[in-house]
């Protein structure tokens, strides 16, 4: 069973999520590194993500879009700032325009993920930091908020025992 805890710091607009997975750090790392696996969890089920580029090296960038129920395709990008496989990953995540490229003047949010070996699995800590409320809104508007209601409906399905 996956244990998930979160800490919100409203003052510094930072969200910390800690999840314990029943898998080795290498396998958890893979869901970040492999774009086909990343696509399966990055977007909500109603806004699946498609990564058209995923240059998973320090300084490398990614481009992705999400496909909403009405066919809308909000776009985003990543920039990988640190890679310490399979221990730590630092990246920036920003909003892209219709051309798929970063929107000039819109600051990306920054985040890092750490992977620690723990008894029988991996503790993954994902920290996301926002600059301001407007930025949070912008990122949430990328299909995330609209997908929320339906995503909640998926919780039950996900809570049921995973197929063996």
């Amino acid at each position: 069973m996956t244990v998930i805890t979160t800490t919100k710091d409203v003052e510094s607009l930072t969200l910390t999520l800690v999840a314990e997975f029943d898998a080795t750090p290498d396998r958890v790392w893979e869901v970040w590194e492999d774009p086909r696996k990343l696509e399966r969890w990055w977007g909500p089920p109603t806004f699946p993500a498609t990564f058209t580029r995923h240059d998973f090296v320090v300084g490398g960038e990614s481009r992705y879009f999400m496909t909403g129920p009405a066919g809308e395709t909000p776009r985003g990008w990543w920039r990988i700032d640190t890679i310490d496989k399979p221990r730590r990953l630092d990246f920036a995540n920003g909003l892209a325009g219709d051309d798929g490229e970063p929107v000039p003047g819109v600051e990306p949010m920054s985040g890092y993920v750490t992977f620690e070996v723990m008894d029988g699995g991996t503790r993954m800590t994902a920290v996301t930091h926002f600059i301001d409320a407007a930025q949070m809104q912008t990122m949430l508007d990328m299909g995330m908020q609209d997908g929320m209601t339906q995503a909640i409906g998926q919780i039950d399905a996900l809570l049921s025992p995973a197929p063996v």
Partner: protein, 116 residues
């Protein structure tokens, strides 16, 4: 009115500045009722399309509305309460990450038997 911690002073200024104008309050009111295209909004007012577009842009900068391109139309959506929203946004973001973590757990569970 309660202003959420985490909102920068500059943003609060933008929000109040945007709401200081009657046309913009009216546009926001319509968008709260139902999403509006900029051209539909422009028909409601005795001003040019460009002028209405400018008002929408001010509301957008204040994060009171968001604009979405749909074909040739620009659709204006009202944002959920911008005032006092930082905590709510963090809640939403928290939910998003919880869902992501659950999906990762699902992928890891499902790929256990894979030979690849």
């Amino acid at each position: 009115m309660v202003v959420a911690p985490g909102l920068a002073e500059e943003e609060i200024d933008r929000i109040f500045g945007a709401l200081a104008d009657g046309t913009r309050r009216d546009i926001l009111g319509r968008a709260i009722g139902h999403e509006q295209s900029v051209s539909a909004l422009a028909r409601q007012y005795a001003m040019s399309f460009a002028a209405v577009q400018k008002h929408v842009a001010v509301l957008e900068r204040a994060t009171l509305v968001t604009k979405e391109r749909r074909g040739r139309e620009q659709i204006v959506h009202a944002n959920r309460a911008t005032l006092g929203k930082a905590a709510t946004l963090l809640d939403d973001y928290e939910q998003l990450w919880i869902e992501r973590a659950k999906r990762i757990a699902d992928i890891l569970a499902n790929s256990k038997g894979e030979l690849t």
